[in-house]
Symmetry: C2
Subunit: 146 residues, 2 copies
């Protein structure tokens, strides 16, 4: 289904369904975690997919454009991506110790954000919300280790 959606997008915009784009698409949907562009490039390299970094970046942009992939800035200097399939909108808890990322959804917060916007007569297009802190596992380590 993601393949079909992508092919449609390509057709619609007059772009071509190339080998390299198929490789990137498949690799993106093969893994269900957060990843960055270089992760993806290295995974493709390991598979000998023969796709360059430049093409990884270019194809990721298309996947974002076609709403198959979400691009996020978790404040670590590079962009983080995740595919959308089976991942409705959510926000993130980012552990500053181990880098792990937890997802959460809270519609009450979303409602309040909407309310803030109407107070400011501001038309919301998107939002990002990250909570930085220490995950439960890393807290345990702290309790033991000192």
């Amino acid at each position: 289904m993601e393949e079909k959606k992508f092919v449609n997008y390509l057709r619609r915009t007059g772009l071509k369904n190339t080998q390299a784009r198929r490789e990137v698409l498949q690799e993106v949907f093969r893994c269900h975690h957060h990843f960055d562009a270089d992760d993806l490039y290295l995974r493709l390299k390991n598979r000998r997919a023969g796709v360059s970094r430049a093409t990884v970046y270019r194809t990721l942009a298309l996947l974002v454009e076609s709403d198959l992939v979400r691009k996020m800035d978790l404040g670590e200097g590079r962009s983080t991506f995740e595919h959308v399939l089976g991942h409705p909108h959510h926000d993130h808890l980012v552990c500053v110790r181990c880098g792990s990322i937890l997802e959460f959804r809270n519609s009450a917060i979303e409602d309040l954000q909407q309310k803030v916007c109407s107070e400011f007569d501001f038309k919301m297009l998107s939002h990002t919300q990250q909570i930085y802190g220490v995950c439960s596992k890393c807290q345990e380590k702290d309790d033991l280790g000192g």
Copy 2:
């Protein structure tokens, strides 16, 4: 007061109270908007303060470290700063058209964030929240211009 706090910080950490650092500190507190490192560098340059970009970056890091300045990532490729004096914690509405930034505070959202964290047994250290959209002025332009 900010000067005193900074001097204390410097003393405490064995650093020196230099001309360049004083220049940067003053310029940071002279303007009450959001700015990026290069804005600040150029303002200092206009004043002939004779402070290099490198020193601007290095001093900003100290100001952040000493809690006089907040550093944020508004997803525009560079970091945004604001001084803390008279600016209690808040989040931002970012206009994607004109780049203007509105501040808002909503304690109900903060409470809900705290609640999310306890559900995940996650110790919050900080959070960021940005709402991207179109500010009222830019909406007006749209209504007129088409």
